[in-house]
């Protein structure tokens, strides 16, 4: 992971541009807010590598993300852009920014709960803590299915307002 400390001014600028690309499946979020952008490196003038990490290994949005980043950076004058996928360290829902969480809830998707450091896959799947309905705010919600419209979401229903909603499940 490239920290901002060792990035050049140009890399920071390109990083902001790449980070401003909206997520293809959740367009309310930017890639920066989703936390999937791992680094931008200028290898030579006009030649840039962007490191991207998938939310899920099989996430089909990665290809769209890659081509969107390539397009944005090319439009900015970078002739040669290559987007590489990195798997390690694995992405976690804790990488979604506070602003990203706020936007998810506003969009009608219950944001993932913070996991802290226990996101190693060794503990039981946390499904019992209260998840708030993004429509009415009630914490009285029930799980309908562990997998919803995409692998990263679970389908729940609010027992107060009866509306079904997606929950971005913790990973």
């Amino acid at each position: 992971m490239t920290g901002t400390a060792d990035m050049t001014v140009l890399e920071e600028e390109l990083s902001r541009l790449a980070g401003s690309v909206p997520d293809p499946e959740l367009p309310v979020l930017t890639l920066e807010e989703l936390g999937v952008l791992r680094g931008v490196r200028v290898l030579a003038p006009g030649r840039v590598t962007v490191e991207l990490t998938p939310t899920y290994t099989g996430c089909p949005a990665v290809e769209a993300m890659s081509s969107d980043i390539e397009r944005v950076l090319r439009d900015h004058g970078v002739a040669d852009v290559s987007v590489v996928t990195v798997l390690s360290p694995a992405w976690s829902t804790d990488d979604i920014s506070a602003e990203g969480r706020r936007k998810l809830a506003e969009f009608g998707i219950a944001p993932p709960r913070h996991q802290g450091t226990s996101a190693t896959g060794s503990g039981p799947v946390p499904v019992t803590l209260a998840i708030r309905c993004p429509h009415c705010g009630s914490t009285e919600t029930e799980l309908l299915s562990r997998f919803s419209s995409t692998a990263c979401k679970a389908l729940r229903r609010c027992t107060a307002c009866r509306e079904p909603f997606d929950h971005f499940k913790e990973l």
Binding site: P54, Y56, T57, G58, C59, P60, V86, L87, S88, P89, A90, W91, S92, A119, T120, G121, S122, P124, V125, V127, L144, S145, R146, F147, S148, S149, T150, A151, L155, K169, L171
Partner: protein
């Protein structure tokens, strides 16, 4: 950072993921309820993502998936077993997801190809996804096992039918530094605990040595696998290089 790819291991684990992904995909349009249709398709998609990463370590992913003959596949026979009824699919999921989670957990911690290696990175990522697959299988095992007399009977039958394919899971895979005996005893403890909670009996049949079970890693597969491959590979072989 060393990154020597254990090719045999990537092929074995990649084929497991690919074949099970295809089997689960066969449920599309047939699952008992819409939520399950979506759940099984999502699990299949996770597995397909793993397969793509693993097979790409070995060679061209499309060539490996679509142009190999049956004998060249290195998946365990468990994952190629037909879907059967929903209980069979859940039993297969319970057995396999428990194995995969325990195995990936070890590979992520120990490193199959060294720290920073792709296999290790994949394992560290996939173990979190597989935790949801295992949870899904466990919840359904409990619901079916501790459900009606009919669901109990069918879940019980499914667990017994697939039991003989579970010994093969613990055959050492070349290039993976894993304590397979410990993996097996952890698997047995985990699966037994779920079955018992589901009021099901842990099958007592043989898990190794039974005829036909346990040579998938050597390229020997069961009868239905050829038909599955024919369907999976048909389009690619009929229209080489087609795109849309």
């Amino acid at each position: 950072m060393t990154a020597t790819v254990p090719t045999a291991a990537a092929l074995a684990l990649g084929d497991d993921a690919l074949v099970l992904s295809h089997r689960l995909g066969e449920w599309a349009g047939h699952a008992p309820v819409l939520e399950e249709e979506v759940a099984l398709a999502n699990i299949a998609l996770d597995l397909l993502g793993q397969a793509r990463v693993l097979l790409s370590l070995v060679g061209d992913e499309d060539e490996l998936a679509y142009l190999r003959e049956e004998r060249a596949f290195r998946n365990v026979q468990l994952v190629e077993q037909p879907n059967g009824d929903f209980a069979h699919t859940i039993a297969r999921q319970l057995y396999f997801s428990t194995y995969q989670r325990l195995l990936y957990g070890r590979l992520a911690a120990a490193g199959g190809d060294g720290e920073g290696g792709t296999l290790t990175g994949l394992a560290g990522k996939a173990v979190k996804e597989v935790a949801y697959h295992q949870d899904h299988a466990e919840q359904w095992t409990l619901r079916l096992g501790d459900g009606t007399a009919e669901s109990h009977e069918r879940m019980s039958r499914a667990c017994t039918a697939l039991w003989r394919f579970t010994g093969e899971l613990f055959q050492p895979v070349e290039g993976l530094d894993v304590d397979w005996r410990e993996l097996e005893s952890d698997w047995l403890a985990s699966v037994s605990a779920v079955l018992e909670r589901a009021t099901l009996t842990v099958p007592d049949g043989p898990r190794t040595g039974a005829w036909s079970a346990g040579a998938g890693r050597q390229g020997l597969h069961t009868e239905s696998f050829g038909r599955m491959l024919a369907e999976m590979q048909h389009l690619h072989r009929s229209h080489p290089g087609a795109s849309w």
